[in-house]
Symmetry: C2
Subunit: 425 residues, 2 copies
Amino acid sequence: MSQYTLVHGDILYSDTSDTLACYPDSWMVIRSGLIEAVEPVKPDIEGAKVRDYGHQLILPVFSDLHFHSVQYAMRGLGRDKELLPWLQTYTFKEEACFANIEYAERVFKQLLNELWTEGSFNLCTFSSLHLEATLLLMDMYEANEFRAYVGKVNMDSNDPILVEDTEASFEDTKRWIEESRALKYTKPIITPRFAPSCTPKLLANLGRLVEEQQLPVQTHLNENHGEIELVAELFPDYDNYYDVYRKNGLTPEGKTVMAHCIHNTKPELEAMKEDKVLIAHCPASNVNLSSGIMPLRDMIDQGFLIALGSDIGGGDRLFIGHAIVDAIRSANILSIVHEGKVAPVTFPEAYYLATAGGGSFFGKTGTFKPGYSADYIVVDDSCWPATNRYDLSERLEQFIYAGSGDRITERCMRGNLIAKPYSSL
Amino acid sequence: MSQYTLVHGDILYSDTSDTLACYPDSWMVIRSGLIEAVEPVKPDIEGAKVRDYGHQLILPVFSDLHFHSVQYAMRGLGRDKELLPWLQTYTFKEEACFANIEYAERVFKQLLNELWTEGSFNLCTFSSLHLEATLLLMDMYEANEFRAYVGKVNMDSNDPILVEDTEASFEDTKRWIEESRALKYTKPIITPRFAPSCTPKLLANLGRLVEEQQLPVQTHLNENHGEIELVAELFPDYDNYYDVYRKNGLTPEGKTVMAHCIHNTKPELEAMKEDKVLIAHCPASNVNLSSGIMPLRDMIDQGFLIALGSDIGGGDRLFIGHAIVDAIRSANILSIVHEGKVAPVTFPEAYYLATAGGGSFFGKTGTFKPGYSADYIVVDDSCWPATNRYDLSERLEQFIYAGSGDRITERCMRGNLIAKPYSSL
């Protein structure tokens, strides 16, 4: 039997970081889960299976490079607070609930259903500090064929509600990595919450583990002025905030995700570029918590690797279209504030970040070039009154700005269609 | 038979412009479509009908004080353009389609379904310049019990695609007002598109009509620098942009809605306050089209009457929760940019604008005080995992930030439950 699948529809993906490739009424050739080609004419392949989506849009799955799976239930709360008081008032209390595995399962089921609905399948996410909840979360992502890096959070300092013993934190981390080794699509990522919640000893131990086991790392960086001052106070012997992670071996080259990166110093930027850090830009969260506005235009122009994050629960909504729009709007605002001296960010640029840009952290996913994993969503916009007058890129823009997961009719990972995770909910 | 209806649930509304009144597990007493009281204990009224919503939230309906009903099909498009080129490239072409009454009906049905879904029932909206489409739109709002001011747009100047003859524009306007006189819930509002699209003669004629028939007025003001320069060029004999409307009798006291009002001069602000103008703040649209950021904090503190507008299609989404969030975020950004010297806008303040603030333009609607129209929506957030740990104001915040119309289970206007307008779509 042929291993080929032919997928027909209006196909669209990021060609470069600022251009879209549009293939109306075209065919995607999939072989053993990988894309071989996208062609305007139906290829003649004997025995190939056909999935015909008519004039629906076929797009890469979305990548969400920074969010907290355990903050799903408290998204949208505490918007009158900045980072540190927000953590104390809402976040740590909510995360403490994940000691209860039944509660954890209830939240995770809803979260996975919504991620599926919204078409986000390439994920880099924080769990809580709890070993059992983290392993459950990984099993659930795995069973539903998401491609996920999941981090058991390390935090042994500076919070009375949610804190680990330094030794126990490290032992749990090693056990978690051991126990998640067998998973195929879901991988552990070392996750010190942020520098202020870790002792130097724990950071150093985690860094050695990263080196020994060649693990990736995710954490927060330069989000909020209060946080940056706290780091300077707690770690006076380091050059800067990024240096705390770097000197402890927590910035492995090409395998590090840093969320936010709003208020960076020049030496930090230079080091991050050297380390090929992926920056997870979270525009909604940054404005919600009055953290600041990341200079996206400038960071793109400087050649940084950038992706988008919903940052649930500092952000509010999982549909990554919101992150695309919020990124463009934040860049527009910087342009307005600087009276046009800073250029805005275009739609194709922001869309790239949310698909191919984020996807690059996982390997070949997020666009439809030959050799990439056949990871796509199908969008039916035929009910919208003016669809037939607009071209593919306009239809994409309308879906991102005005649509949501309720327009997505099919999800496919590695060539396989993905059913709703918990359809009885 | 008793005219009383008792409504039970977790009741919440704006008490003042910056405080919420929260009545958990309480009762709203409705008599002949008007609210008599909200009470914590079930009143003993013989024969009263009971609607028991358990622990669902009962909230005032939303007010959307500025959007273009005829731009629904093109929302989310052309976000790389500023106002004037955006109008030329997308908007006027789309509005020209409303000469076709079948197309108009198709768009309006979808629009009304979505307004119903999202709980927006107090509306101030632009139609196109077409008489027939405008009358159809008004009939449809009326039949579905929305409370709407609808404007046939006047534009007899400065656009090659979409333009009326000066005399015909005025004659059509008079006929439109005559023909819509019999409607009960839907009322005409004089709607010069904006100064640049009207000749001085048409403006003067419209102003006389406003005076003669005691009509309200809506239009655009001080949205974009290019627009403001164009007005100065076209109307050199007026003191400022607002003065063009005012000297022509188009700012009737307490009956005028001005959309945007971003770049105002001091004399304009003074005149607007004198005229009791309602300012329709459209934060999403203003950032989408790089128009600027309205100084909301300052305008509230100066005592202006303010409401929110989705501004479809300069804005993208009808759920007015987005306008609330975008208003807070825009105010946060001004606070960030001015390094904390400008205070942010609180959640209760922004929520007020979207309910009671906007409602004030229509009479007694938008909050639940005695004598107000019983206009409410019911929100079921019980599926969310942490609902039972949060108080009413936190649940409201979560619904606004992370929810949408799909959590609304019932809509009521004037005490009557409202069915979905076009349920077969």
